[in-house]
Symmetry: C2
Subunit: 255 residues, 2 copies
DNA sequence: CATCTGCTACCATAATATGGAACTTGAGAG
DNA sequence: CTCTCAAGTTCCATATTATGGTAGCAGATG
């Protein structure tokens, strides 16, 4: 059984545990309920093995079952852990006042995002004063290559483009799906310090982002400001980019 | 497809997976960060084994590490899964309008709770019109024996008092810590259909609850109305109890 | 500088997970 | 009403995989 490309660490001797955890990730917002056969198919595991792992997950309340058809879905234990994870995340706590400030000054929505697998997860969000704009997306995830935060991340962190999935999914006509093209952009991002997306994630939606670093300089995630493309001209994006870089630096602990 | 008495089936052949999942539950709001040694101690596992499992959890982003001291804490993957679990829970969706109604009519806070291990998890909450009252507790958990919802649950579900932990923790001077005493109350609850707590969870805080059942009659969780003891006299509790029973029944799917 | 504590790597052992085959149940068709 | 099929569950011999002792490291502490 070969492990996928090294996402983080290549752990050995925990196959069963890893498999169980990966099963959880098969439950997406698009496919919130899965039957045994579907799970086993997607995971590429034997039906028996899958069944055993699902049972374990179920017995710990990580999964729930639909009483009528026996399908599995994410369970209450995850809700509890998720909420707790959010509230015990100190980056999030420290970033909160900054996000507020950014949203207030710009009038747009400000977010804090961190990488997870090949996506960016919205850790926190403060909506701007405009009515039109992103809202209520904490916990959702977007492909790295189609977000400003994601591009900032791969431009500056150690893993770089290795974080990307094999195929770069196309979400709009302007999404970058060509690796070469993306790498050009990354060089540009490194040069000026911030990243931007224009209509690449969603039509009419743009964003600017800068990476957030930890005490030892390691990249933890990214801050962004985003809103309707109409309001985010090239000039304005540049100005917001600079603001974000300053804000992100202020977030880095100094020893 | 009937899974009877052993709600928490004892799955075999998934030891490693189970252990990994249990490790996650060691991270409580009181102890959001744990070092390897602490985890291994609390879990009663060998240090090496624990280390391997933690690595696996970390590699899947279920755990994060504090860069300065290497301590583990709940990670971003759980935030994503948690939010998703909340949004894909149909009981929660269906209960929402009812909770609103209950909160509006009573002026107090209404909650939907489900059991997990030996606690009740607040799945959803609508705060009442009064300023004083519970708020912002979705995702938190309380001991079964000290909550109205918990007592309703063990009075009506199959597992019953088996859900309780060995020792009944004392949270206030009025918390029930004597099993005999608790069983008397349970009989009373069965008789009248709803449960109540008065100053048992927190001084000056009371609640009333009724169980919610699924399509086949199995107990899924409980609805409650709670607020300051001052406002919840015995008479009022009885009236709210009846209201809750009706509301809970309306939530049960009919085939 | 010496010592300690807590984390990680190594590796032989046996306990544990694995998956094939068989059984059960429920649904749908004939 | 019976037959067939699909999906879930149980059983069990096998060897793969997890286990935990010991040892090595690195960063904190005195």
């Amino acid at each position: 059984m070969e492990y996928k490309k090294t996402d983080k660490a290549p752990p050995q001797g925990a196959q069963a545990a890893l498999r169980a955890l990966r099963l959880l990730k098969l439950f997406t917002p698009e496919q919130p309920e899965l039957q045994l056969a579907e799970v086993s198919g997607r995971a590429g595991l034997n039906k028996t093995t899958t069944h055993r792992l699902l049972q374990a997950l179920h017995s710990e309340s990580m999964l729930d079952r639909n009483a009528s058809n026996g399908a599995y879905r994410l369970g209450p234990a995850l809700m509890a852990l998720g909420v707790q994870a959010l509230s015990s995340n100190d980056l999030r706590l420290r970033a909160r006042p900054l996000l507020k400030r950014l949203a207030e000054d710009s009038g747009e929505t400000a977010t804090l995002e961190v990488p997870i697998d090949d996506t960016m997860l919205i850790l926190d969000e403060v909506t701007g004063s405009h009515f039109v704009g992103a809202a209520g997306n904490v916990g959702t995830r977007w492909p790295i290559h189609a977000t400003s935060t994601g591009k900032a991340l791969i431009a500056f962190d150690e893993l770089g483009v290795d974080r990307l999935s094999e195929q770069l999914a196309s979400l709009t006509s302007r999404t970058i799906t060509n690796r070469r093209h993306l790498e050009d952009q990354i060089r540009e991002i490194r040069r000026r310090g911030f990243a931007e997306t224009v209509d690449e994630l969603e039509d009419g939606f743009s964003g600017v982002a800068a990476v957030v670093r930890g005490g030892t300089g390691q990249v933890l995630g990214a801050l962004s400001i985003c809103g309707p493309t109409q309001r985010l001209s090239k000039v304005r994006r540049a100005s917001l980019g600079a603001t974000l870089c300053t804000a992100a630096e202020r977030l880095q602990p100094r020893y």
